[in-house]
Symmetry: C2
Subunit: 161 residues, 2 copies
Amino acid sequence: MAGQPNKKADADISPAGTDITDAVDFEIIELLFFAYRDFTSDPDVILEKRGFGRAHHRVLHFVDREPGMTVADLLDTLRITKQSLARVLKQLIDSGYIHQVAGPEDRRQRKLYTTKEGKTLARALAEPQSRRIAEALAKTGPGARDTIKRFLAGMKTAEEN
Amino acid sequence: MAGQPNKKADADISPAGTDITDAVDFEIIELLFFAYRDFTSDPDVILEKRGFGRAHHRVLHFVDREPGMTVADLLDTLRITKQSLARVLKQLIDSGYIHQVAGPEDRRQRKLYTTKEGKTLARALAEPQSRRIAEALAKTGPGARDTIKRFLAGMKTAEEN
DNA sequence: AAAAATATGTCAACATAACTGACATATTGT
DNA sequence: ACAATATGTCAGTTATGTTGACATATTTTT
């Protein structure tokens, strides 16, 4: 567990011109794993009470964040298949957390909105995650938020469009 | 420093003493989702060729990083059940990527090590992830790495021990 | 108007990776 | 001897993803 610039050092020391661009960043890879593991486990207690899983959480979150988004939008955001989405979306609709409205211009579309209950649940799920983030940012120091935002945005694969 | 106190501002503006500690950080929550979604998809191509999944990747990664760790250590790290681990671990052992050695002091233990092939695979899987991190850090600016490290460490639930 | 394309929904079968519960074996500690 | 521990394994279940095929309504193109 002792902090170490060992990996970089190893690469520099490597005999002759063996490997120069070596130095794999295992440290951040691992920190990301732990951070995300614990971050996603926060809402599990609340979800379980309602018989939902993380898939439901993700759908509810994005519909809540972008009211009126279509099924196609959601598929593109979550990167799952229509059939995978259908199951959890149907459950959320049947449970009264999300409702659909036919698109005003294109009536083939189903625009998605959270109901009042949906908004409440989305908020409740986000709360412990938000608290965790706030605490981590506070411990990191002032100005951290902007750096984190830029880093995380940079980790996302750029969209082609 | 000059981030955006928008959400905080909204909360401050809220009528009467409605919500003060409100301000849920949807923005970072979402950025984390996209960052992790794309980060974990990097090694998928390599894994698929060998008939492995992300579960195998995680096991291989940690055994490679901490040679000699026991099954119990691994269970604690991954936060999955013994039966879940057994399946993927067995496959990695049978495929010759990981080997076991009875503990020298406590012979009930199975100390885990990556084989030569295991090390090679672990490195190959980490490489695209490491590259993504390096690019994101470069875009974020100098000094970002330390801030990111501290933030991610702060996101992890503290261990009791 | 007819044909093609698009957005969504749905059926069926299957894969992966998690879960619970129970029990077996070898080894260590009391 | 007995209890506790570390690991392995059997059997069944659940959550969430997959592919492929096809139906329906609607919009766009020809």
